[in-house]
Amino acid sequence: MYVYNENDQKIIEERVTQFRSQTDRYLAGELAEDEFLPLRLQNGLYIQRLAPMLRIAVPYGLLNSKQFRKLAHIARTYDKGYCHITTRQNIQFNWPQLEEVPDILGELAEVQMHAVQTSGNCIRNTTTDQFAGVAQDEHEDPRPWCEIIRQWSTFHPEFAFLPRKFKIAVCGTQGDRAAIQVHDIGLQIVKNDDGEVGFKVLVGGGLGRTPVIGSVIREFLPKEHLLTYLDAILRVYNRHGNRANKYKARIKILVRAWTPEVFAHEVESEWDYIKDTPSILTDEEINRVKGFFTAPDYQSLDDGEADIELKQRSDENIAFGKWLQRNITAHRVPGYAAVTLSLKPTGVAPGDVTDVQLDVIADLADQYSYGEIRATHNQNLVLADVKKSDLFELWQKAKAGGFATPNIGTLTDMICCPGGDFCSLANAKSIPIAEALQRKFDDMDYVYDLGDLSLNISGCMNACGHHHVGNIGILGVDKKGDEFYQVQLGGSSDSDATLGNVLGPSFGRDEMPEVIEKILDIYVENRNGDELFIDTYRRIGLTPFKESVYAKDH
């Protein structure tokens, strides 16, 4: 992974000093509340319902074991012993003291971490595929490009006060695991007919109040022009985005108002002016950054032999077999596998992880996966480079640690925002819904039988829980001060991304498990063979679900 040089380190340390001074001035009454607000947000600091929340940046989800131990230490020392993985691959602490935040940032800087631009109306953390670099279907590793974007976007002087937040995602595969179609900018690494690497550029996707699938504004951008093109897009947006109404301020609204063609034209004209400036990337720089993402020294292993052994183990041990089936992803190197550690056991808020678990996972990473860990936008963790022959041992330890629930990609592997338990913007709680559903659907055989199924929960329109792109999406709504839940069906964030359709009137919290059960029943009754939920939905449409859920009781 990328290792800071003295420049990177200096920038982060100077940031700590700057933020300490801002906090001191605020506490001394020299910096007004409304002026401190955007400054602290640009450093990931929210004031929530109960306490401040500090969001730490995890660039493109990649962490090392040393950083994990530091997070464990912070959770123990400054928080209540846990932290939370967000749907943007970042990490949140829910209970820090405002006065201590500069100290926390100082500690983070020691391990090359920070909270820069994790909130506020600026360019946020760039996200990517959690299997970047090890995926079998990858054209090129997206992480060096994410790092190049990270550096370009960090304290970009022109784009720190945009009309609204701005999110970029990069994927290096044909199938999309980074949800690039629902980002302000989505970049897909592609090759042109001459075999040159570049990017397909999408803009104006997004969830939130007005969910939109992004539009392609350029089929092929030669790679060396990445930063100048991003500058051009951002400049057009910064100059012309709506600043009067925050609900109309995202770039998607501008793109839609102008049409993607006009927007693309504006970007291209801006780009004409700046494309041949020194920001054009050099091969030297691209290779320097790529040099941090070379493959670890994999052993040459016999895949067949490893598979036979795994088969044997799973025949003897059904629980291990299930874990293999759900929590393991194929690796491009023979004899290796990527392991997803589930942070979705029943009874724990999805994505929460304790200090003790953080330490255990750090040890596992050191022992089995070259000391690296990845945070996923599904709020789980990945050890990406595990030898198949180590899987059984790893599973036993993961099980003891409480993160081997074999539910990845299933109904109970829900995406869930912090919701009304923590977030001051919430209309409704989301964590208790997740828990009620996990309790209702605790029969793993039933859950396996349902197969791949995404269920996403957001506590309000801001859609941090990505409810629009869940096969089943649940949205907290406020009805005259009471918490209600709207259900959407048919969303997907895969390469054929679709937004869900609203089922109908919303439900009270207690009704939710039964509503979901009825939906699942309709799916099971109607599916052909092993057809997935999303495919059945696309075939039969909303009506049968609607009829069943809203049928009058006899």
Binding site: E158, E284, E285
Partner: protein, 160 residues
């Protein structure tokens, strides 16, 4: 006399900002004309003692390469979170090759000085009541930067 930050010094300043809805005779002083007023009266004006000010929602391209007839151009920040002025500054300096004094006026805050400087601003008229000497320290919040910008055309990866 009002004080501003110029370069990194706190200095007296005598420029008078002419409001957008101005009509009548201009005062005998160093005046900052509203952009639209200048566009409308260009031919008739004697520009000897005039600078220009541009609001955040105005189109700097309308000034374009004529920028250099002014010794000073100010960009207004109606609120400090209105970041359009940063783009206006860079366009003036980098595209329209403006080499006079570029000033931030309105409600920009101390914590933006570093960004403003990088976008080509070299003088800063902050709100009344701010300790300008202390504020000027924020011009140097960072000693390293990644991107190219108005004050540094080379991105970090090209600097040696």
């Amino acid at each position: 006399m009002p004080k501003i930050i110029k370069g990194s010094q706190v200095v007296d300043d005598s420029w008078v900002i002419i409001p957008k809805d101005f009509s009548g005779e201009l005062p005998r002083a160093k005046v900052l004309l509203p952009m639209q007023y200048w566009l409308d009266n260009k031919e008739a004006l004697n520009l000897q003692c005039a600078g220009l000010w541009i609001d955040s929602d105005e189109d700097v391209d309308a000034v374009g390469l004529e920028a250099n007839q002014f010794p000073l151009i100010a960009v207004n920040f109606p609120t400090f979170v209105d970041g359009r002025g940063f783009s206006i500054g860079r366009l003036l300096k980098e595209r329209y090759e403006f080499n006079g004094q570029l000033r931030a006026i309105g409600n920009a805050i101390r914590d933006q000085l570093f960004y403003l400087k990088r976008c080509g601003f070299d003088s800063f008229d902050l709100k009344d009541g701010i300790d300008l000497d202390a504020a000027a320290a924020s011009l140097n919040d960072f000693s390293v930067t990644y991107q190219s910008s108005a004050d540094q055309p080379e991105p970090l990866f090209r600097r040696s």
